[in-house]
Symmetry: C2
Subunit: 140 residues, 2 copies
């Protein structure tokens, strides 16, 4: 459970917008939201906030390691709370649902490959795109 403490530890002032954004990410069921999503959800909740602030804060949270940013296809970045466990994604290209995945075999092979090629690994992004079997998927 994240709180104002985490914001403070990141060297940021604990402001209302930041707390609200963090809380929203915390309770977000989908897990992966765009800046626009955050904006609309907060507006719907009756909050007053500017889109520029959302972008600024999300970027700051990212630098602080509180959230992770992903560039799925479609031009828009999506953010999710960083709970400390790295994982990759599998995205349904029909309904947009995102599931998380982690596989040690893949992780290990990446390290080996990078070493072979003389790269140090700072990060990686694996995203599988396909069709899921969720009930509501076919409809959308």
């Amino acid at each position: 459970m994240m709180s104002g403490e985490d914001i403070r530890n990141a060297g940021l002032k604990v402001t209302l917008p930041r707390v609200k954004i963090l809380a929203l990410l915390e309770q977000s069921k989908q897990g992966h939201v765009s800046a626009e999503d955050v904006y609309k959800l907060l507006l719907d909740a009756g909050e007053e906030i500017g889109l520029a602030t959302i972008y600024r804060v999300l970027t700051q949270f990212e630098s602080a390691g509180l959230v992770t940013r992903h560039h799925f296809e479609g031009g828009q970045s999506v953010f999710e709370l960083d709970r400390g466990e790295h994982h990759d994604h599998i995205v349904c290209i029909r309904c947009g649902r995102v599931e998380e995945l982690f596989d040690q075999t893949i992780e290990d092979r990446q390290q080996e490959i990078a070493r072979e090629k003389g790269f140090s690994v700072e990060a990686h992004a694996l995203t599988i795109y396909g069709y899921c079997q969720a009930p509501g998927c076919r409809a959308s």
Copy 2:
């Protein structure tokens, strides 16, 4: 070696702009170029072409399977000629150099994971980000 035939087989007219773009991708050393790159390179080569055409043609080539589009971090899409062999990428976050990689173990695991989660795999994108040891890298 690609040619006008490939363009025609894609159901597209064999026009000057398309031939030039295909030729440029063919001879491109870097392999991964943005639409802007293609535009500037063609202008430098004395060709007359519009940026809108580049985008249109690259998108058409992508649909036709002639080129592949990648969304590395940084907002810009990069394109490369599709030579029929799927591969992933390792990108240097200091100098921007891109190397290709392919690993059957990773490919297989992805299929397994997707199956376990009830997804059919249509595509995937694995990109490793790190620092390389190329001679000119540290400098940049």
